[in-house]
Structure formats: structure tokens, C-alpha cells
């Protein structure tokens, strides 16, 4: 049975879902409805582009900390943890206003994947604009294979990762320009071209990848000391670095 696939535009990007469980198609369609319903809800509540979002109302002072929803409080709490764990390089105020977007997308995809598991889908892959949470297998005898985009060639890969249960987040300067600001200098980060972080939680992996990009070269050492999260980095001068357990596929194998 081929996987059930759906792509929708949400959160300013394209989100691709594959449900590989052998479930009836109406069931898989209903699960997909729930995933995209949740992601659209998150967009409405947390986007800085939506005038009336909770985030914008909190930023304007129309919402107090105690009046914020449990989800928003959880997001801000996690962002505070990331700020501390990244020596301030992950900073929701890096642009001068409250903007937790760097965490929200990964977090919302992680939540969607967790809910899919609870609802009976243990084999799926959810990719939101390049940030991925996957579970199980695409087919009983295969692992998920995740390509990491080559930072200079849009149609090429520089690594292929394999596994059955992990999150992959990549932060880079090649899609939307040098948009990551070093919060300590206020200037764009330019030394690293692409930072990929792999681990159990997509929100945290995304935050780590963004923070390391902001750190520049010292981010290599910072990433090397992380527990539970593996990394692959490509610098602006074309060197690549990867941690020892970065789950790269055996290059001789291609199913």
C-alpha cells in the first residue's frame, strides 16, 4: 500500500505529510485533516504576520502573561530554556520585538507528530519547509531516508540520513538570505552556510540549529558538546563538519 501524501501551504511555507501506516484511506485522510487543522491553528495564533495573533497581542501588551494560553506559555517557557542553553544566541527578541517563530514551527510539527502517534499512525513523515519529524518506516523493510540539501546546489544533496524516529532541523543562509541575527552584535551571521541538527525534539533541534548559525565558527564547538543532538555543519568556505553519530547513510547503499 503506497503512503498517503498531502501538501499544504501553511506558516509561509509548504508542509508535506506522508502517512505510511496500512490504514484505510478515509482514516489517513482524517488524520491528515487533523495535522493540517492544527498547523493552520498554530499559524493563526502564533504568527507575527497575523495582526490578531496571541503573540502580537502579547507583544503589544494587550495580553498579560497570565492571560496567555497554556500553549503560548509552554512556547515561551521553552524559548527561555533555549535562550539559556544557547548562551543567549537563540533570542526571541533578536529582531527587537517578540518573535518566537524560530521555535514555533518545529514545536508545532513535533506536537502534530506526537498526536499522530496517539491517534494510531506510527509510520509517518512530516516536513514543514525543511524541518522534519519522522517516525517508524516508509515500508516494513526500509528506514526513512532524509536528504540534506546541498547549500549551493538546489537540486543536490550533501548528506543522506537514515533512521526510524528522529527530528531533523536545518538552518541556513541560502534560502532567505542572511536572516539570522547574532543577538550579541545585532549583525547577520555569515560564517556558517548550513547547520543541521538531529535529535528527539524538533523544536529544540530547530532552536539549536538557529543558535549555532548565529554563533558562527564557535558554534562548531558548542554543537560538539551537546548531549543527545547530533549535527552536521557546512561553513561559508565550503568545509563540512559532522558529529560522530550524525546518522549518515552508508554511501554505498541506495535503496
Amino acid at each position: 500500500m503506497p503512503g498517503y501524501r498531502r501538501v499544504e501551504q501553511v506558516m509561509g511555507t509548504a508542509v508535506s505529510l506522508v502517512i505510511a501506516d496500512e490504514l484505510p484511506d478515509p482514516t489517513r485522510a482524517r488524520l491528515a485533516d487533523q495535522v493540517f487543522g492544527w498547523l493552520h491553528e498554530v499559524d493563526a495564533r502564533f504568527s507575527t504576520y497575523q495582526e490578531d495573533s496571541e503573540v502580537n497581542r502579547l507583544d503589544r501588551g494587550e495580553l498579560t502573561g497570565t492571560g496567555a494560553s497554556a500553549d503560548l506559555r509552554a512556547v515561551l517557557g521553552a524559548c527561555t530554556d533555549l535562550w539559556r542553553d544557547t548562551d543567549g544566541y537563540f533570542d526571541v527578541y533578536a529582531t527587537g520585538r517578540l518573535d518566537p517563530s524560530g521555535y514555533v514551527k518545529g514545536w508545532s510539527v513535533q506536537v502534530a507528530s506526537d498526536r499522530l502517534v496517539q491517534a494510531g499512525s506510527v509510520n509517518h513523515c512530516l516536513n514543514a519547509g525543511g524541518d522534519i519529524r519522522m517516525r517508524g518506516r516508509p515500508a516494513p523493510d526500509q528506514e526513512w531516508r532524509v536528504g540534506i540539501r546541498h547549500p549551493w546546489q538546489v537540486d543536490k544533496l550533501c548528506w543522506v540520513l537514515t533512521g526510524t524516529d528522529f527530528a531533523v532541523a536545518t538552518s541556513g543562509t541560502y534560502e532567505r538570505g542572511q536572516h539570522v541575527i547574532d543577538p550579541h552584535t545585532g549583525k547577520p551571521a555569515t560564517a556558517l552556510r548550513s547547520v543541521t541538527v538531529v535529535g528527539p525534539d524538533l523544536g529544540i533541534a530547530d532552536g539549536y540549529a538557529t543558535a549555532a548559525l548565529a554563533m558562527g565558527l564557535p558554534g562548531l564547538d558548542w554543537l560538539a558538546r551537546l548531549a543527545g543532538y547530533e549535527s552536521g555543519v557546512i561553513s561559508e568556505d565550503g568545509l563540512s563538519f559532522r558529529s560522530g553519530s550524525f546518522p549518515v547513510a552508508d554511501p554505498s547503499y541506495s535503496s
Binding site: P2, G3, R5, V7, T13, A14, S16, V18, D87, G88, K105, C125, N127, G129, G130, D131, I132, M134, W144, R145, V146, G147, I148, R149, H150, P151, D155, K156, L157, C158, V160, V168, T170, S171, G172, Y174, E175, R176, S194, L217, P218, L220, D221, W222, L223, A224, R225, S231, V233, S235, D237, G238, L239, S240, F241, R242, S243, G244, A249, S254
Partner: protein, 197 residues
């Protein structure tokens, strides 16, 4: 404390990167070659041609050729002192030295030490040059001690520099920097979604 440590370790990463970069594509007249020498590059023991080799701007004498000033003079019958190597040429004739490698890098093995940064000093890197290209680069945390050595060792062994290669492979999905809805249409992920729909 943590941040200052980060900043200091940045020197370590920079040192490793400096050498690694030349592994990838050694550009002609690589200015970092001089930088490395300035940073204290010293020839490894056992390299007899060491003397002027690491001098920036010095004569680019390939290792193994006769050293300047040691060529045989007409009328002098004794072999000139000097390192073992090509035998002295006959009086009146000089052997043209091999052309310098295009990169300006001298063949041999060289060790550079990273600049000391407080007591968090640092990494030594050793490179082997052959045919004007760096063929081997290794790093160690020799001078570091205590906590800094632990961290340095972990960083050096955990993150391995390598040269990136573009590859195509059968994958289910693609991770990359976040694309816009518009950029998605031209992406590999979009092609995968269409191909497997």
C-alpha cells in the same frame, strides 16, 4: 564564564578550519599559507631543508633540492657541506631547480600552533604538503590542559571536517533552510512530492 569559554574555543575551531579549508580547494598563492607560518609554523623534526622554508616571502625552494649557497663552485673539489640530496653538479654547470609548486607551498611536514588565548591554549595542527598541495592535516590538543583539554579533544574528534560532495540519492524527503511557499515550487522536496503523489 561560559561565553568567554566559547569565545576562546572559537580560536580552536578557527585554527582547525584554517587547515581544513586548504584540504578542499587549495587556491594558488593561498594567503593562509603565510598566516600559518606567521602563527609559528615550524618544520617537523627530520626535515633538513627546514631553515628558510617557513620564512614568508623567502625563496620557494622545494624540499630535497640543493640549498642556496651550497652549490658547487668551479675549482673546488670537495663536496659542499649540506643535507643529503642531489649530488653536487659538475663545475660550471648548474642544475635548474624544479619549478616551485603553483601554490607556493613547500613540500614537507609542518606544524602550526594556534595562538595562545589565556591558559586555554590551544590546538596544534600538522600538515603534509606534497606537490604543492596539502595532503594530510591533523590536529591535536597538545598544549591544552584540564577542562579545556577535555573540551578541545571532544570537539576535535567529534566534529570531523570533510569536503562536501553533491550527491543524489533515493530519499523520502529533504531537510534544508526554510523555503518560502514560492521557493518550494522549485525545490527537490516539491519534485519528490510530485513524483510520489
Amino acid at each position: 564564564m561560559r561565553r568567554s569559554l566559547l569565545a576562546l574555543l572559537g580560536t580552536v575551531a578557527g585554527t582547525a578550519l584554517l587547515v581544513g579549508a586548504k584540504l578542499g580547494t587549495p587556491p594558488p598563492d593561498d594567503p593562509t599559507a603565510v598566516t600559518l607560518a606567521d602563527a609559528g609554523a615550524v618544520p617537523a623534526a627530520g626535515d633538513p631543508s627546514a631553515g628558510g622554508a617557513a620564512t614568508p616571502g623567502g625563496p620557494s625552494t622545494p624540499a630535497g633540492s640543493a640549498s642556496p649557497g651550497t652549490s658547487a663552485k668551479p675549482g673546488v673539489s670537495t663536496a659542499p657541506p649540506g643535507p643529503p640530496g642531489p649530488t653536487p653538479t659538475a663545475p660550471g654547470r648548474t642544475t635548474a631547480p624544479p619549478p616551485p609548486p603553483p601554490s607556493g607551498l613547500k613540500n614537507g611536514t609542518f606544524t602550526g600552533s594556534g595562538a595562545a588565548a589565556g591558559h586555554y591554549e590551544v590546538v596544534t595542527t600538522t600538515i603534509t604538503v606534497s606537490g604543492g598541495k596539502i595532503t594530510v592535516a591533523t590536529g591535536s590538543c597538545g598544549a591544552a590542559s584540564g577542562e579545556s583539554k577535555t573540551i578541545c579533544t571532544r570537539a576535535m574528534t567529534k566534529l570531523q571536517p570533510e569536503t562536501i560532495t553533491a550527491q543524489n540519492a533515493n530519499v523520502a524527503t529533504v531537510s534544508g533552510a526554510t523555503y518560502t511557499s514560492k521557493a518550494y515550487k522549485a525545490s527537490l522536496q516539491s519534485a519528490l512530492d510530485r513524483a510520489k503523489a
